[in-house]
Symmetry: C2
Subunit: 208 residues, 2 copies
C-alpha cells in the first residue's frame, strides 16, 4: 500500500508517519520510485504499537525508540522486559539514598525475588521508600508485605500468560503489558478503594 | 518557633516556606511583631505533608492545594478520597470514548463495586481501555479479571487499616496512601515481573 493507504489503515496521519520514518521508529517501505514506497501489514502493526506506547503509555519518542530497539533485536525476553522497565522509568535511574536502597533490597530478599542488583525498578523502589520515610510517612511494614504479595500474584499470572517460546510476539506481549497496563491497574485500585471506603464509611452526600 | 527554627525542624528552606505561606499551603503563624511570627508543631507536620505530596507524589502545587483543602475542611472520608483521586488524575477528568466508558462500567459492575457514576477514576479506566483497544491491543478479559481481583484485595486491606472514626488523621492516612504508595506498588510489580520472568525464561547474560 502507499503511504496514504497506510494512514487510512492505521489511523495515523501522513505527516506523523513521515515523522516516525525520519526518526527511525518505522522501517522504510520498499521504494517503488523516487518519491514512492510500498508499505505492508508489518507497518500497520508497528504504527499501532508506536501510538500505543506514545499515547497510552505516555512515553516520549526517544523512549519509544528504546523499547522498539528491543523488539527488533533478537533480544532474550528477560532483557526486553528490563529495557521496557528502563524506558518507563526514564534514564538515568533515580538515585536511591542508602537507607532507601537497603530497605528495597531487604524487601526483595524477604519476598524471595531474584532480581538484577542494580536495576532501575529496584532504584525506583528505594527512592520511593526513602522519600516517604524522609517526609515522615514511612510505609507500614504490614502494608508493604501486602503490596509484595499482590504484586507477586499479579506478575506471576502475567508471566504465565506469555505466549510460549522466546519469539518477537512474546517480547511484544511483555513490553505492552508492562507499559500499557499500569494506568488500568492504578485506576482499578482507586475504584476499589472507593468501593471499600463507601462500604466502611458510607457514601458522600449525592453519590451512588 | 521562628521561621528559621521551622526550616531546621522540617528540612524545608526558609524561601520555600515563605512561598508556601503566600500560596496558602501553610497557615500563617501567630504574629508576634510586624515581621515576626511564631510557628508550632502543626506547621512542621503540614510542611512534611506538602513536601511528600509535591516531591514524592509529584503533584503540581495547585493540586497539592486541592488535596490540603480536603484535609482542612470537616470532609467526610469518602469525599476526601475522591478529592485525592481527582488531584492525582488532574482535572478535568479524561474524556473516555463511549466504548471505553461502557467497558469500564461493565467491569466495575462485574466486580460488584459501588462507585460514583461520573467519577474521575472511572473515566480514567475507560480512557485507558479505549486507548488500548483503539491501538489494537485490547486487554485480555482474563487479565482484566485478575487485575480486578488484585485491586480489590489490596484496597480492602488498605481501607481496613484506616484508623477508626472520621477524623482528620484518617483522612490524612487515606490521602497519603492513595497518592504516595502508587510508585511503590508499580515498582514492586516490575520487580515481581522480573523475578517470574527470570524463573520462567532464564536470566539475561551477566545478571543475577
Amino acid at each position: 500500500m502507499l503511504v496514504s493507504a497506510l494512514a487510512a489503515a492505521s489511523g495515523v496521519p501522513v505527516p506523523t508517519i513521515k515523522y516516525y520514518l525520519r526518526e527511525g521508529l518505522l522501517p522504510p517501505g520498499r521504494a517503488t520510485g523516487a518519491t514512492r514506497a510500498e508499505y505492508g501489514e508489518e507497518h500497520v502493526r508497528r504504527l499501532r504499537l508506536v501510538r500505543a506506547l506514545a499515547e497510552v503509555g505516555g512515553l516520549p519518542i526517544a523512549r519509544v525508540k528504546d523499547v522498539l530497539a528491543c523488539l527488533d533485536g533478537a533480544t532474550p525476553l528477560t532483557t526486553a522486559l528490563g529495557a521496557a522497565h528502563d524506558a518507563l522509568a526514564g534514564s538515568p535511574a533515580p538515585e536511591a539514598p542508602a537507607n532507601g536502597a537497603a530497605a528495597a533490597e531487604a524487601l526483595v530478599a524477604d519476598a524471595g525475588w531474584r532480581v538484577e542488583a542494580g536495576c532501575t525498578s529496584l532504584a525506583q523502589l528505594g527512592a520511593a521508600l526513602a522519600a516517604l520515610a524522609g517526609a515522615g510517612f514511612p510505609v507500614d511494614p504490614v502494608a508493604l508485605r501486602r503490596y509484595v504479595r499482590a504484586a507477586d500474584e499479579v506478575a506471576r499470572e502475567e508471566v504465565d500468560a506469555i505466549p510460549g517460546g522466546d519469539t518477537a510476539d512474546a517480547v511484544e506481549f511483555v513490553v505492552l503489558g508492562t507499559v500499557l497496563h499500569e494506568p488500568v491497574l492504578l485506576a482499578l485500585r482507586r475504584l476499589a478503594q472507593q468501593h471499600h471506603s463507601v462500604h466502611r464509611f458510607g457514601a458522600p452526600p449525592g453519590t451512588c
